[in-house]
Point group: C2
Chain length 287, copies 2
């Protein structure tokens, strides 16, 4: 039995970060640390402690799926403006557990083949197998974010997609997948600093894209598109969580916690042996 991962949290993280009724993105302070009053040093310790928990949960989830006909899995959906820290979450939160239990899918600009299909086609193909923690680095939400801001599809098609997403996620969660949807929320000021750092360091130049500055000009439009996403697709079965991300250490700890909560909710137990242990010990000893 794994102890409930409360640690230094002073409130219910899910409640504090959920984009529920009346949620307004404009009211969220990207520098805030909701439910956590400790500093960066303590956060690093808490993150480390959480790694061990997450690892055990992941192994139990995987073990269970190998033996039982359970379809339980977890899907972490990460959305954010550029440089908000998706990569750091993948590296330091997800990357801390056994890679054999993780399936990471990065969705980039759709290929010609992908564009020939419905926007959910490429998403469906990358859903996690039973026992796996899937991670979407960007997702079907790009099709109602950049898709909306850049008018990559007609307005009525964009409208259609919100409902299609909800139906899709309902089916996925009914089939046994816990969907944890996270928007990492940074301020434009913090983004400017992070992009400037990429320009200052030759070993980070490859991460910089001149198009990032063009996207910055559309910041208000993107925030409006996110607000609409939360209003239309934050459901009881697949709610959105908005994680303030100007402080990387907070964002990592909060996302780890959301994953832990999802796994505690599944509460996977070690499966019982499907063979007679005593008999097998004899067979093995004699072999």
């Amino acid at each position: 039995m794994i102890a409930k991962s409360q640690r230094h949290w002073t409130g219910d993280v899910q409640d504090l970060l959920r984009a529920g009724d009346g949620f307004a993105l404009a009211d969220v302070d990207p520098r805030a640390t909701p439910g956590y009053e400790q500093d960066k040093v303590q956060a690093a310790e808490d993150l480390e402690a959480g790694v061990a928990q997450l690892s055990e949960y992941q192994e139990r989830l995987y073990a269970r799926s190998r033996v039982d006909a359970t379809h339980a899995s977890v899907l972490l959906v990460l959305q954010a403006m550029d440089s908000a820290g998706k990569g750091g979450i993948i590296r330091h939160v997800v990357g801390a557990v056994d890679p054999q239990g993780i399936d990471l899918a990065a969705f980039k600009k759709p290929t010609p083949e992908e564009l020939e299909h419905d926007f959910l086609w490429r998403i469906e193909r990358r859903l996690p197998e039973p026992g796996i923690i899937g991670v979407f680095d960007r997702s079907h939400y790009e099709d109602v974010l950049i898709g909306r801001v850049r008018r990559l599809a007609p307005a009525d098609e964009i409208e259609r997609r919100y409902g299609a997403i909800n139906e899709f996620e309902k089916r996925v969660t009914d089939a046994g997948t816990r969907v944890v949807k996270v928007m990492l929320h940074i301020s434009p000021e913090e983004q400017k600093e992070r992009l400037m750092e990429r320009l200052d360091r030759p070993d980070k130049h490859w991460k910089y894209n001149p198009g990032d500055v063009d996207e910055r000009e559309l910041w208000p439009q993107y925030m409006a598109a996110y607000q609409t996403v939360f209003e239309r697709t934050s459901t009881t079965y697949a709610p959105w969580y908005v994680v303030p991300a100007d402080r990387k250490w907070y964002a990592r700890l909060a996302v780890q916690h959301l994953l832990l909560e999802a796994l505690e909710d599944i509460d996977p137990q070690w499966p019982a042996a499907t063979f007679d242990v005593a008999v097998e010990k004899q067979r093995l000893a004699a072999s």
Copy 2:
């Protein structure tokens, strides 16, 4: 520039472990630690130091592929008898670097769809993209190992496969992928201990398969099949390395070193900026 990762190695690891002309698997002591005379504690320190190096190489390799039209990638092929430690290598060696730069493919018993195609069909589909370190947990070699021992295909088809594998690997390496083929070599006595431990621990029961004991009866046949694999498919462009694996700490350090050597050989450099850095700083500052 990353310092050559010699550390406490007393010899050329590639030379010591390569299955070259006249190689005889029967002469390899699974408890040996070729080229390394330190203990487990020092090995843990050396492994940790290697993680930082491997991480930087991996990021350079990835960065390079994003900017240049380079097709460089690495493919680690892991083969072994059950419980030899493939999972530990994946977790502690591969799992220590950024998951965004890793593509892990576990090849299990072929599906009906896979069986409709040539044995290399499913392999080809999982080759690593440029900039990625691919890992095969089992591989096309199963088709000349269990395939041979269990007679899953006619003898002349098995014979055909050795040549097909060499042609395939020649094409893959010519296209820019360094192929690092590793057999983790444990003794049947060590395997017995490890399987017994799985039977002793309820949280490890799910890892135990009664079929493992049946396979143990075929140990000499498997070793003969491996010997044939080394004789037929250890080529200059894709040599086999046989890593003694009774001591997990040695196997992990040795495989990490083989990966480091492959990456040092590629020697990926940070790519130059594809834009005017000064201009971008101005644009960003004004945004």
